[in-house]
Symmetry: C3
Amino acid sequence: MVQHLLTTNELKVEEIYQILEDAERFSQGLFWKPEKQMYTANLFFEASTRTKSSFEMAQKRLGLSVIPFEVQTSSVQKGETLYDTVKTLESIGVDTVVIRHSQDRYFDELVENINIPILNGGDGCGHHPTQSLLDLLTIKQEFGSFSGLKIAIIGDISHSRVARSNADALTRLGAEVIFSGPEEWFDYHSLSTSRFKPIDVAIKEADVVMLLRVQHERHQKMGSFTASEYHKKYGLTLEREKQMQPHSIIMHPAPVNRNVEIADSLVECERSRIFKQMQNGVYVRMAALKRSLESLGGGNQYETAYSERKIYSI
Amino acid sequence: MVQHLLTTNELKVEEIYQILEDAERFSQGLFWKPEKQMYTANLFFEASTRTKSSFEMAQKRLGLSVIPFEVQTSSVQKGETLYDTVKTLESIGVDTVVIRHSQDRYFDELVENINIPILNGGDGCGHHPTQSLLDLLTIKQEFGSFSGLKIAIIGDISHSRVARSNADALTRLGAEVIFSGPEEWFDYHSLSTSRFKPIDVAIKEADVVMLLRVQHERHQKMGSFTASEYHKKYGLTLEREKQMQPHSIIMHPAPVNRNVEIADSLVECERSRIFKQMQNGVYVRMAALKRSLESLGGGNQYETAYSERKIYSI
Amino acid sequence: MVQHLLTTNELKVEEIYQILEDAERFSQGLFWKPEKQMYTANLFFEASTRTKSSFEMAQKRLGLSVIPFEVQTSSVQKGETLYDTVKTLESIGVDTVVIRHSQDRYFDELVENINIPILNGGDGCGHHPTQSLLDLLTIKQEFGSFSGLKIAIIGDISHSRVARSNADALTRLGAEVIFSGPEEWFDYHSLSTSRFKPIDVAIKEADVVMLLRVQHERHQKMGSFTASEYHKKYGLTLEREKQMQPHSIIMHPAPVNRNVEIADSLVECERSRIFKQMQNGVYVRMAALKRSLESLGGGNQYETAYSERKIYSI
């Protein structure tokens, strides 16, 4: 059966661990390629630098050939549906597609009749499983395990693709998740209110301070705040950073609004894992692609151990 | 002499058969590559998913390296002419270009001084030779030969790049072509009126029901019809499909307007060759590229028979 | 230390000669590749055909893998800064970036914390070092050396990225540079007025007539001239071409405004090196990339002499 990667929620704990383990091995120089030449396409219906270029890098490191696809110059402009677009790519021989789309659960209309694996690069305000997985990898590299950790997810929770799926996955993996930020952006319906804490408490208690991006492009306006008010009230200011525990780390999915969610000078400070997260994004996507391509059968893919010539070192 | 592929009309019958034969061999796993690394570029001045991605796939399967070109970020924005753009690509070492352009016969101003093969990916309302060739390949795969077949081309004939060239090629190959659809979209000047038949007659008689896309983007409005009126009057409805002969097939160049030219549920029905056409598009374009690249001389390209490791299976 | 290529001015004379020599060897078939797979990205925030496709070609000839980046579909649309964009690409494993940006000296904010080489593909009205180097290569191929040559740079000097840096480099290499064109476009502040000459004098004296593009996109209007007035007053007309010395050549960075800077029929005349310049652009960019990639260490790159199989012939 074809292995899509659509949401973190549908991954069993052992599947999450398998992906993280493969990603870790890729970070150490694992060399894996499909036996025959395979083709892929990246359909990004929303702007992206990190996710798109990270998938491209992962695909190229696995030796996949990427068929370019740009929404603005495609037949989507003539009204072609997402289903027909993906079916077309399947027909011409594309083996797997990555899709980002503004519609929540766009993939529900695809999975029945599309016979190639779909990797979700973000759907609406819904899911972003590879972002979630790279966050998990970054935390695991730092602390070895998830059990007993306290993760504070802070900011625009209602619009965040990762807040909910990260919370779910982290809890299943044994961590404790607390939320903070503007209460009006907190979703009382789907998240237990008992875990909402004031920002200064959250920051003191957390092993991981995970900031979320204020998504100007999804808000009509930035709540009732100016950028500097948001920073003062809910951002990681220089003062708040000093309240963090010595071993605690800072994460952010980026792109960062500097001096809004986080003080400019903290983006690359010693605690920050923000660019490390991006690095890990490549390894996690290599692992996710490997999982999906292996599900296509064949099974003759070869794999060699990390050699002294570190081919995949970043 | 450099072998362009500009129109189907200028291809001799034996050239058509040669391309179809090569395409058929590619579909069976023929492996062909130019001896030295060759470079190509795809200049699409109009939106495309199928043609562009199909050419990209064909190029990659032949081992060509594709130099990206996007109209919106090119010097075309500074007023550079098509000729100077193509001459530039020739100068930097591109070996062959694919062009789609809204101007009828855009290539007339190029062929004199451009010394690399041009493959026409569609010009205005004029020609689209690789679409025509993939239609021919699909028919040939189905029926073995063209002689005695009856092909009904139905729909927006006046704006169709392929209606006229398909009609010409099919007639030369021994098939009989009939037209149907709205009479106001039928071109009495360039096509014999004697071959125009009412839709319900055409569908009963045809071995191949070839539907054409209603090109919203070329019409000011969709004639005097709404979409559902068009479907009822000229579309392949569920009722009309039942009138087709048992062995007859459905074709459409896509993108399909579902429930306009054809009922939604027929797009992937057993008779439909719509996605098969797309698959064949890759093989036909591989054959067309091979023909053009061979014309550049060298002749040392290597070719191996289909091996048990089916490299080009789609 | 990482070797950027930001401006021609900062290159020492011996560095210029080294790049030209490598470029010349690439034009003769030198084969050079980095030992391990390397990755690159081209960030063009302004339209380009020549520079972008020429860099792509150079990258592919060196075996680099290109990670696509399109400004309009990137997180730049969400307000991400240039620094964060480049840092992201560095984080995911890109080894070198090419950047064109409308801001003068955009690179000043990058060089401190970016640890991969930046190749400047043009900044504002400032610099365009690879254009400058390809001009130098074209002149050197023609005349063997620079000493004693007279180069007339004619046209829109104030907006030209190359006028100033070409003038500087050519003077340092032993050539004499004179300027001509509309006096109102001449920059009396930064260029010595003593070298400004009327167009008909400049054209008679010059060994190289280097025309500059009238940059409609940077001017509010084309000075006080219509296109045909400009051509008559400051363009290379058919009559003026006859006044050139028998051995003199014509250059232009392109895209050419035909019948503005130069008469249409002279663009591809015997004296013209305009398309030769584009060809040389690939070799110069290969040399510049080689220089930057070698600065990343490793040093195990292999290099083979020109073999009978001329791999890099254009």
